[in-house]
């Protein structure tokens, strides 16, 4: 009994610095900002700010673009990195040079590569040159719906290597005996992957998914670096909307926009939790 109490106090001491910081910089301000979202110039207006926001065309555009990006980019990154991980796993041994080179894109700062992206994706850039020599029409990456394609490509390129490393770590933990016994039962390699690999690495998949969500919001940095404050309407994300509203310090609008964005993410997480649970029950 005495030891339990001592452990409780010690634990509290270890957590205290972090807890104070989190309270002070995140939780309390978060509550304040939620309360502010219910007011307009010091009068209580309930959810009016939210209704205004949902009638704001620019906000809706930003919300739509963010949703489109999330729905396309996250599964795409997941599939691509899983396939590369499977591919790397098929080698008996692989030099650490290859593994390290996969992580280079995460390590290299966003701002360093702007010029390279411009050279590649400009109207007369290398990609269009390639399309041209293949006899295809040139694409305006900086000023059409292809802007989204470009941002998705950059996102996948940047974080793919990191996800591959996470996946290969997960694959290394699947016991080989499972594969061997399934092979004796006559399972082909496609069945091995769908029936053994994918269910066995669910915890990894979940972690990758979490990281992908976190990183998908950081893609704003690329958008900002390539387009500045006001990108074209195809890549105007919620982060642009929030950032631009700082310049006029519209607190009610800012706070309600961030509450909506948080709800969006928490729903996404919940959806994945439910999906994961269902998936693991059937297996």
């Amino acid at each position: 009994m005495k030891r339990k109490r001592k452990e409780y106090i010690v634990a509290l001491l270890f957590i205290l610095p972090s807890l104070l910081g989190i309270m002070f910089f995140y939780i309390v301000p978060y509550i304040i900002s939620f309360i502010k979202s219910l007011y307009a110039s010091n009068t209580f207006v309930g959810f009016n700010n939210y209704i205004d926001l949902l009638n704001n065309d620019i906000f809706l555009l930003a919300l739509k673009n963010t949703a489109v990006f999330t729905i396309i980019a996250i599964p795409l990154l997941m599939v691509v990195s899983f396939l590369i991980a499977l591919f790397l796993n098929s080698f008996n041994s692989i030099s650490s040079f290859f593994r390290s080179s996969l992580l280079i894109p995460v390590v290299v700062p966003v701002a360093s590569l702007i010029c390279v992206w411009q050279l590649l994706f400009d109207d007369y850039g290398a990609v269009n040159g390639l399309l041209n020599s293949l006899g295809l029409n040139a694409v305006e990456f900086f000023n059409s719906e292809y802007s989204m394609v470009m941002i998705v490509l950059i996102y996948v390129w940047k974080y793919c290597g990191f996800c591959v490393v996470l996946f290969t770590a997960g694959l290394a933990n699947v016991p080989q005996s499972l594969y061997e016994s399934a092979k004796l039962d006559g399972a082909n390699s496609f069945k091995l992957i769908t029936q053994i690999t994918i269910p066995m690495i669910t915890p990894t998949t979940f972690f990758v998914f979490l990281m992908e969500i976190i990183y998908s919001f950081k893609v704003f940095r690329e958008v900002f670096a390539l387009f500045g404050d006001y990108p074209n309407k195809n890549v105007y994300f919620l982060q642009n909307f929030i950032n631009n509203n700082y310049y006029n310090l519209n607190y009610p609008r800012l706070s309600s926009a961030s509450v909506i964005l948080s709800v969006f993410i928490i729903l996404l997480l919940l959806a994945f939790f439910i999906f994961e649970r269902k998936h693991s029950v059937t297996d």
Binding site: K4, E7, V10, A11, F14, I15, P17, S18, G21, I22, F24, F25, Y26, P29, I32, S33, F87, L88, S96, S101, L102, P105, V106, V107, V108, P109, A111, S112, L113, I114, C115, V116, W117, Q118, L119, D123, Y124, A126, G129, W157, C160, G161, V165, L166, A169, N173, F207, F217, K218, F220, F224, A225, L226, I242, N243, Y246, Y251, L261, I265, I266
Partner: protein, 278 residues
């Protein structure tokens, strides 16, 4: 037939690797090009398709000379980046390892609920936390100071979640044995836990450094003085004006994270391997 398959596999492997490292190699190659070659390359008004040119017409250190001796403002911005990043990384690694130990190995009421709150905070994007942060920093008069970036960054939940994963797989037996020998909790933490999570600490240092090194949103919002902006913002501004030094600046900016990476790349996946052995 038996030889062809591995050959194809290796060609594919090299292609994948080439895609990943190409932009970096390109940057470095361009940084040794003379100015007229760079401005010709970046002249987006010429109506002809650009070629990818990796070989400088003449290898020159002109761009680096300009950055280091002629344009001190970029070195100042570089220094701004250092001031914002290094204290944040040190703070976050210290505070996270303490808290992660408690979450992983000590029992106290409400532990799992509290940890769930941390996970939610972890997933919320920067733009959401920026608003609340701004309100607090404003009332503390910390806007327009580097502390406005350092303090909230220090208390990010990311480090705690990452390190908890590494600590949780340290065996309880070694901790119990140390306790029987009369070691206090703090001694257990420094003598048993810290040495065993070295790879986790390196991974966190690297990821946290990269994250803060790339900071863009907070300085834009918190600082009025453009002189305080870090190099990450300055680099996106110069892309259209300063052809002569842009690649050298970019290379200079990627050197610190690459150095940490070369030191720690062998450790980077270890915490995740442990994490799934349950």
């Amino acid at each position: 037939m038996k030889i062809i398959k591995p050959v194809i596999k290796y060609i594919l492997l090299f292609l994948i690797v080439a895609v990943f490292i190409f932009p970096v190699v390109y940057m470095i190659a361009c940084s040794f090009m003379p100015q007229n070659q760079v401005s010709e390359m970046l002249n987006f008004t010429a109506d002809k398709y650009r070629e990818i040119n990796l070989i400088p017409k003449k290898v020159t250190f002109e761009q680096y000379y300009q950055v280091f001796f002629r344009r001190p403002e970029y070195l100042l911005k570089f220094w701004n980046s250092v001031i914002m990043t290094v204290p944040t990384v040190i703070g976050q690694v210290t505070i996270s390892s303490l808290a992660a130990f408690a979450f992983a190995k000590l029992k106290f009421p409400g532990r799992d609920k509290l940890f769930f709150v941390y996970i939610i905070l972890l997933v919320l994007p920067l733009q959401v936390t920026l608003v609340p942060n701004y309100i607090v920093l404003d009332s503390l008069n910390l806007l327009n100071s580097f502390l406005a970036i350092i303090l909230p960054g220090t208390f990010s939940a990311f480090g705690i979640c990452l390190l908890r994963q590494s600590i949780i797989y340290i065996s309880d037996a070694s901790i119990e044995a140390a306790r029987i020998d009369g070691a206090g909790y703090f001694k257990i933490f420094t003598k048993i836990i810290l040495p065993q999570i070295k790879s986790g600490l390196i991974t966190l240092t690297l990821l946290c450094f990269i994250d803060n090194w790339n900071v863009i949103e907070q300085p834009l919002i918190y600082f009025d003085d453009r002189g305080m902006y870090p190099l990450s913002i300055a680099l996106s501004d110069i892309s259209s004006t300063d052809f002569g030094i842009i690649f050298a600046c970019g290379v200079m900016f990627m050197i610190p994270p690459l150095l940490i990476f070369t030191y720690g790349h062998k450790d980077i996946d270890l915490p995740f391997v442990n994490a799934d052995k349950s």
